[in-house]
């Protein structure tokens, strides 16, 4: 639920309850005041009748005015005197209809006779008045509520605009693309603060990220020189004289280790470069040619492992860096060869908008994690960067990559269409 909606709801419910309670109180108070006034009028009338009786020693004539009626009724003996106010209906002879009234029923002694006197005044006007007042109150309440809703809807929407704007910016913020957070000038202090905080955070994050990346970059570069020293020294050592078989084995191990280390370094550098989008030689790459080239490149190993290679090529030209296309296919096909078993098979299906590499291999599916850096299965000999590089290249060009597994067959599909 949106903040404005929630605020609106609370606001409206509270307003409604308050208006309702004040409405009821208002109604009751007005009612009470008018009744008091009626009762006072009735008492004045009663006093007049009593005065008349004491002066003339007879009852005044039962009078029926527009809004007042007086009735006398002789009571049998033994009845006690009483006096009470009552809401009644009386017959308005002029209007010829029953109308609500207020009656004072009191007893009157004239001589030795006890009369019961009923003075009734019309309540119609009072009720009308109360009704009008209630209606006006209700109308004002409704008007107030509606305007509240409208204000909330339109003003709040406008007020919160800077907030949603900055929110959109933050959602769109991409560390890799290094886009700036755009700020909309606002006069509201809270939003001003939010804007500056968001901008500061973004620049801080960017700075940290930059440092982290340049760290990887520098570390990898700095490692190259010592590696070059070791390599060249080993090459020199090899030339220095006869080598025993034992030494040969040790030297080979060292060479292999250096090889791995320098490849690891190159892979890391490559990843940072792809992330920074620093590879610019974008051109039309003919994947058909490239795959043919790869199959030639891997033919020795394919032959050695007695793999069956099926290639179905349709024309496919993609606009991307030739260098990255080469690496992409190297990793895809290389993995299919590397993680295969003897007498296994590899199928490469190239279509105009996708490439599919299907290979036999380990009898368990890969997980999302295999696309993470340095993640590798226990049985993997690689560095755990091959798939990460594939993923990064796909990310760069908005290719989508799909993986499926069934019965020992792994299938990687790259869809070139974004």
């Amino acid at each position: 639920m949106r903040l404005a909606d929630r605020y609106n709801r609370v606001n409206l419910i509270t307003a409604l309850i308050v208006f309702l309670i004040t409405g009821i109180i208002y109604y009751l108070v007005i009612h009470f005041i008018f009744r008091e006034k009626l009762d006072r009028d009735l008492t004045v009338e009663e006093d007049e009748i009593k005065q008349y009786v004491s002066t003339y020693n007879k009852l005044p004539l039962p009078a029926s005015f527009l809004d007042q009626q007086v009735n006398y009724q002789l009571l049998k003996g033994g009845t006690k005197e009483s006096r009470s106010f009552k809401n009644t209906n009386y017959y308005n002879s002029k209007e010829k209809e029953l109308e609500p009234g207020r009656s004072l029923i009191t007893t009157l002694v004239q001589g030795n006779k006890l009369y019961i006197v009923t003075i009734t005044k019309s309540r119609l006007e009072v009720d009308d008045l109360v009704r009008i007042i209630v209606l006006i109150t209700l109308g004002v309440t409704c008007l107030l509520l509606i305007s509240l809703i409208l204000i909330n809807r339109f003003i709040l929407k406008r007020l919160w605009k800077p907030f949603y704007f900055i929110l959109e910016q933050m959602k769109a913020f991409n560390l890799v693309k290094m886009n700036e957070i755009e700020l909309n000038p606002t006069g509201v202090d809270e939003f001003k603060e939010l804007n500056t905080s968001a901008a500061q955070m973004a620049s801080r994050v960017r700075q940290d990220y930059k440092e982290l990346k340049s760290f990887t970059d520098n570390a990898s570069h700095e490692m190259m020189t010592p590696l070059a020293v070791i390599n060249s020294k080993l090459d020199t050592l090899l030339q220095s004289g006869p080598i025993s078989e034992q030494q040969g084995v040790i030297l080979e191990d060292i060479y292999n280790a250096i090889n791995r280390l320098s490849k690891l370094n190159h892979s890391l550098l490559l990843l940072t470069k792809i992330e920074n989008n620093l590879i610019a030689d974008v051109q039309i790459v003919d994947f058909k040619d490239l795959i043919a080239e790869k199959s030639r490149q891997f033919q020795e190993i394919i032959k050695k492992e007695q793999l069956i290679l099926n290639i179905n090529l349709s024309p496919c030209e993609i606009e991307m860096s030739r260098y990255l296309a080469d690496i992409l296919l190297n990793n895809l096909v290389g993995n299919a060869v590397k993680y295969n078993h003897t007498n296994g098979c590899i199928t490469i299906n190239l279509k105009a908008d996708s490439i599919e590499v299907i290979n036999s291999g380990k009898n368990f599916p890969l997980t999302e994690q295999h696309f993470d850096r340095f993640f590798k299965s226990a049985s993997s000999e690689g560095m755990g960067l091959g798939l990460a590089i594939i993923k990064q290249i796909c990310n760069l060009y908005n290719f989508s990559i799909e993986y499926s597994f069934s019965q020992g067959t792994h299938c990687f599909t790259i869809l070139f269409e974004n």
């Binding site: 020293v229 080979e252 060479y255 490849k263 190159h266 050695k304 690496i327 290389g334």
Partner: protein, 225 residues
């Protein structure tokens, strides 16, 4: 051939010098921009091995200097940066080749030899080693005047060995040379053995001596026994 090695890392410089120093080669070295620039101005070289990361100047500027002097020295750039931009700008500035650290000295030698051969090209570009001769322009190999047919890989191998005669060349270096450095399928380079075996057989069958020696597990040496 006359070579200038510009490299600030003295240990690497030393190794390169010792690898290149042999009969018929003159190797000079410079370990900073100033002395390199001085040497370039004074002498002509067949090939300059140029490290880009020099302490007192950008290596690429040496290339510009060379261009200004209108010299035709071959240049091989050595860089710790596996950067396409560096490579492209280097090649655009007139460098002949680009090699990324760490590298095998045998690879360096092969590339330098190729540059020097190209630069010295005078109609007949032929490498001769005793009874074996390879015509680079025609891509023809002959033993005792008789042409033998080699596959592309075998031919590349032979050139590689001829550029590194008398040196032990590792299997890693050979694999990298023939298949590129992206070929990291396995540490097992047995598959290059087939090519070497075939090359050796073809040369011997054509009547040449066996110049290829296997050096225990680690590599091969081509040269006079």
């Amino acid at each position: 051939m006359k070579i200038l090695i510009v490299e600030d890392e003295l240990t690497i410089l030393e190794s390169m010098l010792s690898y290149f120093t042999e009969v018929g080669n003159v190797c000079e070295s410079a370990s900073d921009y100033l002395s390199a620039s001085e040497k370039i101005n004074l002498y002509n070289y067949d090939c300059i091995l140029l490290d880009l990361g020099l302490p007192d100047g950008e290596g690429l500027n040496l290339l510009k200097e060379l261009k200004k002097l209108k010299k035709n020295d071959g240049v091989l750039i050595i860089s710790a940066r596996h950067s396409l931009d560096d490579k492209l700008s280097g090649l655009n500035l007139g460098a002949d080749d680009y090699l990324v650290k760490p590298f095998h000295l045998s690879e360096l030698k092969a590339r330098v030899s190729a540059i020097v051969r190209r630069k010295k090209f005078d109609g007949n570009n032929i490498i001769t080693f005793n009874e074996i001769s390879v015509d680079i322009t025609k891509m023809e190999t002959s033993v005792k005047g008789q042409i033998i047919t080699l596959t592309k890989k075998e031919y590349d191998l032979l050139i590689y060995f001829l550029s590194n005669k008398g040196k032990v060349v590792t299997k890693n270096a050979i694999a990298e040379h023939l298949w590129g450095d992206e070929m990291d399928i396995s540490d097992d380079f047995d598959f290059i053995y087939t090519h070497i075996k075939n090359l050796r057989k073809k040369i011997i069958e054509a009547g040449a001596s066996d110049y290829l020696q296997s050096v225990y597990g680690i590599g091969y040496k081509f040269g006079m026994v």
